[in-house]
Amino acid sequence: MRNSSHPITNKQKLSFTFNGKKYFGYKGDTLASALIANNVKIVGRSFKYHRPRGIFSAGSEEPNALIELGDGPYKEPNTRATNIELFDGLEGSSQNFLGSVNFDFMAINDLLKNFIGAGFYYKTFMWPRRFWEKLYEPIIRRAAGLGKLSLQADPSQYDKGYLHCDFLIIGSGISGLMSALLLAETGGEVLIVEEDFVLGGRLNSERLVINGNQSSNWIRQAVKKLKSLKNVRILNRTTVFAAFDHGIFAAIEKKTDHILEKSSKPRQINWKIYTKLCILASGAIERSIAFPQNDRPGIMLAGSVRTYANRFGAYYGQKIAIYTNNDDGWRTADDLKNMGLEIKAVIDTRKGIEALSSSIPYYLGQTITKTYGRKGIKAIKLSSGSKLNVDCLAVSGGWSSNIHLTCHKRGKPVWDNNFKNFLSGGNGQKDKIIPVGAARGIFEIQNIISDTNRVILSLIKKLSLSMPNRITLTSSREQYSCSLDLVSSSDPSNSFIDLQNDVTQKDIELSFKEGFKSVEHLKRYSTLGMATDQGKTSNILGLASMAKLKGTNISEVGTTIFRPPYVPVAISAFAGRSRGKDFRPTRLTPSHNVASKRNAVFVETGNWLRAQWFPEKGEKFWRQSVDREVIQTRNSVGICDVTTLGKIDIQGEDCSEFLNFVYTNAFAKLPINRVRYGLMLREDGVAYDDGTTARLGENHFIMTTTTANAPLVLRNLEFVRQCLLPNLDVHLISTTDSWAQYSVAGPNSRRLLQKIVDKPKDITNENFPFMACRELTICGGIMARLFRISFSGELAYEIAVPTQYGNALFDALLSEGQEFNAVPYGTEALGVMRIEKGHVAGNEINGQTTAQNLGLSRMISKKADSIGNILSEREGFNRSDIATLSGFKPVQRNQKLEAGSHLISAGKKPTMENDEGWLSSVAFSPTLGHYIALGFIKRGEKRIGEKVCAVNLLQNKTTEVEIVSPHFIDPEGDKQRG
């Protein structure tokens, strides 16, 4: 119910639905506070036993109230009601039930608890073997899991961002705000990040007095001051969820989650924060106590009951008992009593303490042995035997410093026996995280104020920054001490340790009995702390329980560590904008526009889009276009954009020595204006890349690489330049994007180019023979480079112009080529022609093949050192039976070949032992009228003419093929020299 005099009731009224029913709340509510105010008791079902569960906490530690938020593609499962800022039109529903949340058929599991305790599934479901996937597992899978995904693409937008600061302050409670005020005075950049939509942290939930006024006054002043400072930035609705190396933190900002209208702005922003230091003012999280039937709706953390009452005016019940092992529980009793609610009793597990409130009935040294009310607590029974009728039980097992982030770099928490609490242990490295306030294990406000002053001022002193004055605040006085009475001894199978994963005291006992005693084994066997809350409210209970069983204490038992993220974060938020078509950038070639106009079909080649073929009217099938492009090129002239090949400008006095070293073959004696084919190995002697390198001047070369390897080759060349041969004068510039380059191939290529170049005589066969190159001008003075190289085996050139002219040149070549019936061709025709000619490409140089495999071993010069030279001499590279590059034709010429088929000698079975090689590249050759292939087969060069089987078991196909030379056309190279 709602306290009608609470200030929240003056705010805007909001309507929302939960499980299809309409309710009202106020601006400033969370979904959880609004549900409590509307007397919604059961919000979900537990993971395993499907027990009815209510809201348990008021923050991101919530184990029970996981709901499905939104509808259709916006549906978001497993959302913690305690973290959802209420908005008008919100739609939420419970999850993980069969039937309805109030009547769940799966609750049968609760009755089977004895048979399906920790790890039961390891001991059964093994027979018969086939039944696992067919029967047992599908049942288990359907029963497990929490919410449902919509199965539709996430329609929201997400973004990322980068923030830099000197001081990152996580949390805006009193210690966070004080730290910010102090550190801001040093002039450093301060970034305050607050998970909640309001600033102030715990102060919002308490009735504390600061400087004689309600603490909210002080928050207002502090925030106002901070907002006025230029060097302070505040992000609310933002959770720092992970700490990484060297002061890098990740935070998720909920930008539009609290707005119903689907905004065009991103829903969430994943900030990467770079900071010199982090002040961790993340407060503390209350823990539960394990006792029989401690999971009923209406049993809540005491601090959360207080939060709902103080901050939201929302009461879960009106007859309240408090069960505590520490002083803080009593404060809840006081606050609620002051609001006029009936406090049935404070039950404090501690004997021999002074009652902390005289006006409230209390029981000291007693425990709760039983609770009543399956769908909402009705009564509790004490160890003394008395039974109290209650409609809400506030439980406090003490407070745990919220040190999640300090564990992300594997910092081991250390046990503080004083406050029964794990503190940040650091991890021996400068991890740049400095806890303050409750996160540092200081729980009383007057001490938090003095300690925060002390910690931050000494930090400022250590950093030799300008010293601010300490902040003098007077406050209410708090008192806190805590016991470790966390686990009940009766009815262990109904005493819940981990509410979300339904881990009971009995499960801990069973783990112990079966030898799973180390904390890690306990976690893995019982699933303690492995739910979506990472056991924020329960881990200590499990450890206390194990300590009790082992007869030792918690610090001996140790703890598992928290792993990032602090709260679960949408996978989309990590992807940001890099999804769909924007998953990776798209690179377009200079001829892209012209090609689009000619209806080219494009293909992804790495990040490039290249024209694959250019369909013409009436062509229905890709092969028709490709065959035409090949034939037209071989008969006359074709033009293909080859800009994507890597181009590296190499200049310097020692270029030729450098090239001799990075290629296996020699380049020093390459004359100016000539091109040479080069082979690169990796240092392990395996073939790496190939391409042509042209010499434009004494100290100037242009290297080409394959498209795929362009950045890698540059990286390796830079390695050689800087790390292996730093005394050479060599400079490397990638010019892939700077030059548009087109292959002009076919018998009419020279005639076409002669129409373009400014001095046609310069490129006659005599002046410009095969493997010549030259810088020249075209079209009336435009700088260009011409290379007489041929991938297709035809008379062919590659012509390069500065990229800005590329589009126009492609157009010009096609229009000037009309008289020759010039054709643009795409990567498919390019591939067909190179296979016909027997040139290798990525399918052949795949990182596994050697120069020897490729039949290029003679290219490894033994006159000079080169990368990979020595290790290519190893025995395994030079065995007589290695597979070598060969050509293959189907014996029945009308048969199709498939790349990836394996080669088996005729009459042998297709087994691994009989495997002799494979087909690497296959094409239909329109020139020859049948399929052809390049491939590798053992001793291929000696087996020309032999017939073997190309086996494609995936298609259950065997094709007889003949081993031939890889050069299917013009093996003597007359055409390219013509």
């Binding site: 973004d159 980068y162 990467k272 950038p585 070639t589 200049q651 100037h700 892939t736 994007d737 700077s738």
Partner: protein, 186 residues
């Protein structure tokens, strides 16, 4: 033979747009060349640079602009970029002069410039640029190279709220989209 006229195509065809008060426009230039400093000739190159461009050769991550509006960026220990927006004698005079000391590579077509200008530019850049944009770290006239949205970008700060971003021309469409989305998302 009929003389063919090859028309220049700028990567973004002269794009210009205002989104959320941020002016986004293709930064056009006539020439962009890189200068590599030959091994152990830093002194000679410094003299040549001063002589050719009239300004001292900048230190790494710093820039100069000369009276003809020509920009010089030092992007590596032995590497500079020189960008000529529109000065007419650049190719005929400046380049041959620089050639006497440096190795020159023409990169005019290789890079695409985008100028972003406006009060909210920092907010926008925060969404894609991992660098610290505080003027204490990234002063006016500084030039840095980094990665934005998977792309290599050279970022040059002209004023407090005005930057020029150079990215590879082949992917300039994707990069422009990144800038547009960033501007829209703030």
């Amino acid at each position: 033979m009929a003389k063919l006229d090859l028309k220049i195509k700028k990567p973004l065809d002269g794009y210009s747009k205002v989104i959320n008060q941020i002016k986004i426009a293709e930064y056009q230039f006539d020439n962009l060349i890189s200068l590599a400093i030959p091994l152990k000739t830093e002194r000679k190159c410094k003299l040549n640079f001063k002589k050719s461009l009239g300004e001292p050769m900048p230190n790494i991550e710093k820039s100069i602009i000369n009276k003809s509006g020509i920009l010089g960026f030092r992007i590596g220990l032995d590497l500079l970029l020189v960008c000529n927006p529109s000065h007419s004698s650049f190719v005929k005079k400046t380049v041959p002069s620089l050639k006497q000391a440096f190795y020159i590579t023409d990169q005019t077509g290789g890079w695409c410039g985008v100028r972003v200008d406006g009060d909210r530019v920092i907010e926008m850049l925060e969404r894609i640029c991992p660098l610290n944009l505080s003027q204490k770290i990234f002063a006016i006239g500084d030039v840095k190279r980094t990665i934005m949205d998977h792309l290599n970008v050279i970022i040059f700060r002209e004023t407090e709220k005005k930057f020029v971003l150079f990215s590879p021309s082949s992917s300039s469409g994707s990069f422009l989209k990144s800038i547009e989305i960033s501007s829209r998302n703030i």
